[in-house]
Amino acid sequence: MKIAIPVDDRSLKSNVCVSFGRAPYFLIYDIGTKESIFLDNGAAASTGGAGIKAAQTIADSKVNALLAPRCGENAAGVLGAADIKIYKTINTSVKENIADFIAGKLSLLDEIHAGFHGHGGN
C-alpha cells in the first residue's frame, strides 16, 4: 500500500507541509517496501487551480491514501474521483504520522474547506 504526504523538504525528517495544493514536494511512501520517493509539486507556483493539479499528481502516483492537515474542495473532488482517502495528520512529524497511520490512529479528514479560489493559502 502506498501513501502520499505533502512535505516541506525532500527528507523523511521533514515537516508535513501546512498546505496540500502548494506544498513544495510530495512524499510517496510504500508501506510494504518502506521505499520513499519525493516528487516536485508543479502546482506550487500556479496562480490558480493548485489543488486540482496537485491532486492529479497524487492520483497518477497510484497511492491509496493522502495524509494532510487540510484539503480544499477541488482537490478533494479529484481525490474522491480517484478513490483516494484523505486522513488528517496529527502533528508536523512525517515519521510519526506514517507510524500513526499504520497503527490506525489517524482519522479521516472531514472538514473540507472552500479553497482559496486561485490565490494560494498558507
Binding site: 502546482a43 490558480g48 487551480g49 486540482i52 493539479k53 491532486a55 492529479q56 479529484v78 474521483a81 480517484a82
Partner: protein
C-alpha cells in the same frame, strides 16, 4: 456624454457622486460597474426590473470520443482539467473560458456549454435608467458583465451616462473606463486619500482620459489632496464638505439631492462644471 467616476480605494464617495449626479441630471443613465459589490441600486431602488443572465463558455466532454491523451489537461494554464480513472473532470470555477482545450483536442471530444456567471438588471427610478451588474460569488472575472453593461448603455446615446466604477485600478476598472469621455476622480483629503488618488491618476493618464478631481469629506485645515492637485496641475471640480447629515443620508441609502433641497446646489454645480469640461475636452480632441 459618458462620465466614469472612480477612486483608488473604497469608501471615498464614488457612489455618492455618481448616484447624485445621475439623479440631479434627471433624464440620465446610471451604470453600476462595481459588479462584486453593487451599491447604487440600494439608493435608486429601481422599479420594473428586467433581468438578463450573463454566461461564459465552459468545456464539456463526450466520454465516448475521449481517448485520455490529456492534451487538454496538459495545456490548461489554469489547471481546470483533471483526468482520473479514465474520465475527464472539468472544474468550472477555475476555468477562464479561453477555449484552448476545445481547439486542441485531436478527437474533437470537447464542445462548449454556457455557464451563468452573473446578471445585468435594468430598471427605472423616476427618469433615471438604472443598470446594475451583479457577479455571482466565487466567479473569477466580472469583465463579461461590465462589457454587457457598457454595451447596453451605448444604446441610449441621447442621455448623459454616469458610470460607477469598481474601486482600485485593476482590470475591471480599466474595462469600466474604456469608453468614457471624462473621468471624475473622487478623493478624500487625507494622507491615505492622496496616496490612493495617485493610483487612479496614473490610470487615467495611461488611458489618455480627460479628468478632474472631486474632494469629498473635506474638513477645515491643511489638505494634502489640494497640494497634490496643485503640484500636478489637476483641476479640482468641487469640494464636498464633511457633513454629518449627508453622511447619515448616505448610510441610510438615501439619494441626497432627492432627500434634501440643500444638497442639490453641490451636485447641480458639479454637473454644470463637468458638462463644461466634457465639451472643452471633446472640442480639443476633434
Amino acid at each position: 456624454m459618458k462620465i466614469a467616476v472612480l477612486s483608488g480605494k473604497g469608501g471615498t464617495g464614488k457612489t455618492l457622486v455618481s448616484v447624485n449626479l445621475a439623479a440631479e441630471a434627471k433624464k440620465s443613465i446610471y451604470i453600476d460597474c462595481d459588479v462584486e459589490e453593487p451599491n447604487g441600486y440600494l439608493f435608486f431602488k429601481p422599479e420594473d426590473i428586467q433581468e438578463e443572465k450573463i454566461t461564459v463558455k465552459i468545456p464539456k466532454v463526450d466520454d465516448k470520443l475521449c481517448t485520455g491523451c490529456r492534451k487538454c489537461a496538459d495545456f490548461c494554464k489554469f489547471n481546470a482539467l483533471a483526468y482520473i480513472k479514465e474520465k475527464l473532470l472539468v472544474f468550472e470555477e477555475v476555468c477562464h473560458s479561453c477555449g484552448g482545450c476545445i481547439t486542441l483536442c485531436p478527437e474533437k471530444a470537447l464542445t462548449e456549454k454556457e455557464k451563468v456567471i452573473g446578471k445585468v438588471q435594468k430598471g427605472t427610478s423616476d427618469q433615471v435608467i438604472v443598470y446594475t451588474g451583479i457577479l455571482n460569488t466565487g466567479e473569477a472575472s466580472g469583465i463579461p458583465i461590465i462589457k454587457k453593461l457598457l454595451a447596453e448603455g451605448k444604446l441610449e446615446s441621447d442621455k448623459p451616462i454616469f458610470i460607477d466604477c469598481p474601486p482600485g485600478s485593476a482590470c475591471i476598472v480599466m474595462e469600466s473606463i474604456k469608453d468614457a469621455d471624462y473621468c471624475i476622480l473622487v478623493a478624500e483629503p487625507t494622507l491615505f486619500g492622496v496616496h490612493n488618488l495617485n493610483m487612479v491618476y496614473e490610470l487615467v493618464k495611461l488611458f489618455n482620459k480627460p479628468f478632474g478631481v472631486v474632494l469629498n469629506k473635506c474638513l477645515n485645515g491643511e489638505n494634502p489632496a489640494e497640494k497634490f492637485c496643485s503640484e500636478k496641475g489637476i483641476k479640482i471640480l468641487n469640494r464636498i464638505p464633511f457633513d454629518h447629515m449627508l453622511g447619515m443620508l448616505n448610510a441610510n441609502a438615501e439619494i441626497a439631492v432627492r432627500a434634501n433641497e440643500k444638497y442639490r446646489g453641490i451636485f447641480s454645480s458639479l454637473l454644470e462644471t463637468v458638462t463644461k469640461e466634457v465639451q472643452r475636452a471633446t472640442t480639443i480632441n476633434s
